[in-house]
Amino acid sequence: MMRALTFHGTHDVRVDTVDDPEIINPRDAIIRVTSTAICGSDLHLYDGVIPGVLPGDVLGHEFMGEVVETGPMSTLEKGQRVVVPFTISCGKCFHCSLQEFAACDNSNPAEKQDMSETMYGHAASGLFGYSHMTGGYSGGQAEYVRVPFSDVGPIVVPDHLDDDQVLFLSDILPTGWMAAENAQIQPDDTVAVWGCGPVGLFAIQSALAMGAAQVIAIDHYPHRLELARALGAKVVNFRESNVLEALMEMSGGIGVDAVIDAVGMEAHGFAMENILDVVKQKVGIGADRASALRQALMAVRKGGRVSVPGVYGGLADKFPLGALMEKGLQLRTGQTHVQRYMKDLLSRIEEGELDTTFLISHRLALEDAAEGYRNFKEQQDTWTKVVLKPGMVTATN
């Protein structure tokens, strides 16, 4: 048996004692988790707006740890320290061969593929600790995790880098990087990023690393804007300034060359019946402003590029298709093909080019995970990133 953060219902997650995992398939490995984070998209689950999350599900998709058991076909060895990508990918299918790891055909169990196939025309791949739409795999906010296709996903990390330096290779660092890559940044570019959550901040860092001349960060949480500023971005607080006007002025009337929507739907609806309301009223930075994506499409220059790492799940109403076509825009989006980026980003961390530790605001014992969720949701300005340590002694006892 082991301890794990489980979903019980909306705003009700608890650390329970559950069955510990065992090797089932030949390519599996079992990881003893040393660090695991709460992700912004975990708040979608917490708010009960993602379909297919069931009571008892173990959450968490950003995790790393030590290999404690391996299946006969795993390439890992006991004792190795690994970071595990949140996307589960077989490495053998058509999509994996194109390095489209987040589109893997074989990682989502057959009977779980129907819902996404109905909604999107094609089935989603498997993800850790998320919805049963993406497999219903037990996640990383636990003492142990069964990791399928362990010969493809996990990356072995050197001992001289500590957990905090490499944990975010599992999701948000590659997600921010891919967001910047999707914006196809050129040296003279002005890039605008909506949302200064972890992904937005890493997208800012990545855009600057890729040589953007100017990055403008948009949010309303003062502390988060300060983090963006510290990375080298200019900042616009949408509660203080007119965003569209500001961006036009700051880009000399041309409009920004590339825009990145790192907001997505946030925690305001995913179920089909909520979608229209979400898009009409709720999609935006924070709670009740206009849609970030709509604003981004207006702000981007003619012939510009639109990158969407923010999570969307349903249908959009009043989507400015005309702006997309008439301005000749390019739109790129998608779940992150994590395995494609891990190796390169690990070496950038090793060389000191990228630092991810600035993001971590709180480190808690796994036992205190429920409190971590509550604060991450309710105090977004200062609780920028929560890392859970299963080995840590709880502060509340």
Partner: protein, 235 residues
């Protein structure tokens, strides 16, 4: 009613016109069908996808591309005993004496099983296997799997079509109940599992423990039902 076989079909293209031979045994019904003007020329879509009825027969199927060589996939399928590895409702398939004859033991509701004996009706090495139930089977069924080279280096396009007609009577009632478990969905799931097994060497499961996998639970549920039924009979 005169019956043609899936096995007589030669190319997928013909399927569009020929309404999958008479998967439907229902050429007659097809003509009666008012869904399509008889003057409309056939399009290039596989016959299976047509918007019309197949008469008394239910037809399910799908195509999937598998990144493995054609011969390897053919050989795996040709050994019918392998099919139980990825077909969820199939408990086992055993050779029945004569070459090409097999008995399929299929899980039915209430812990029962239905045996269907099939023969290989047509076979082209590396290309096609067609089977059909022998005269007097509980379920009148036929199936066909084809293996084509996929474009480029994408491997093999595998297409499966299965047609069946549940008979009348007590067995028929049982069979209908069995097949009522969304056969289209079942076929889709089975083919996905086939792809997983061939490409990755395993079938994806999100279970944490071996006794919680869907395959094990399915088999156990079946046994429990059998047990419950036995108790009922004794009572």
């Amino acid at each position: 009613m005169k019956r043609k076989n899936l096995a007589n079909e030669t190319a997928p293209g013909i399927a569009a016109v020929a309404v999958t031979g008479a998967i439907a045994a229902g050429i007659g019904l097809y003509v009666q069908s008012k869904k399509r003007s008889r003057n409309t020329p056939a399009d290039s879509a596989p016959g299976f996808t047509a918007r019309r009825s197949f008469g008394e027969y239910d037809v399910v199927g799908r195509s999937v591309t598998i990144a493995r060589p054609r011969d390897e996939l053919f050989a795996f399928w040709r050994d019918f005993a392998n099919l139980a590895q990825f077909m969820e409702n199939v408990e086992r398939v055993q050779p029945a004496g004569e070459e090409g004859r097999n008995v399929w033991t299929i899980r039915a509701p209430a812990g029962q099983t239905v045996d269907i004996e099939t023969i290989i009706a047509r076979e082209e090495a590396g290309k096609l296997i067609a089977w059909r139930s022998v005269e007097g089977s509980d379920i009148d069924t036929e199936g066909r799997v084809t293996f084509d080279d996929a474009p480029g280096k994408r491997g093999t396009r595998v297409s499966v079509r299965i047609a069946y007609k549940p008979p009348a009577g007590e067995v028929g009632r049982l069979a209908a109940k069995l097949l009522g478990r969304e056969p289209q969905l079942q076929a889709r799931h089975d083919l996905r599992r086939f792809k997983m097994l061939m490409e990755t060497g395993e079938i994806a499961t999100s279970a944490r423990r071996r006794d919680q996998t869907r395959a094990v639970k399915q088999a156990e549920k079946h046994k429990t039902n059998q047990h419950a039924d036995a108790l009922k009979e004794n009572a």
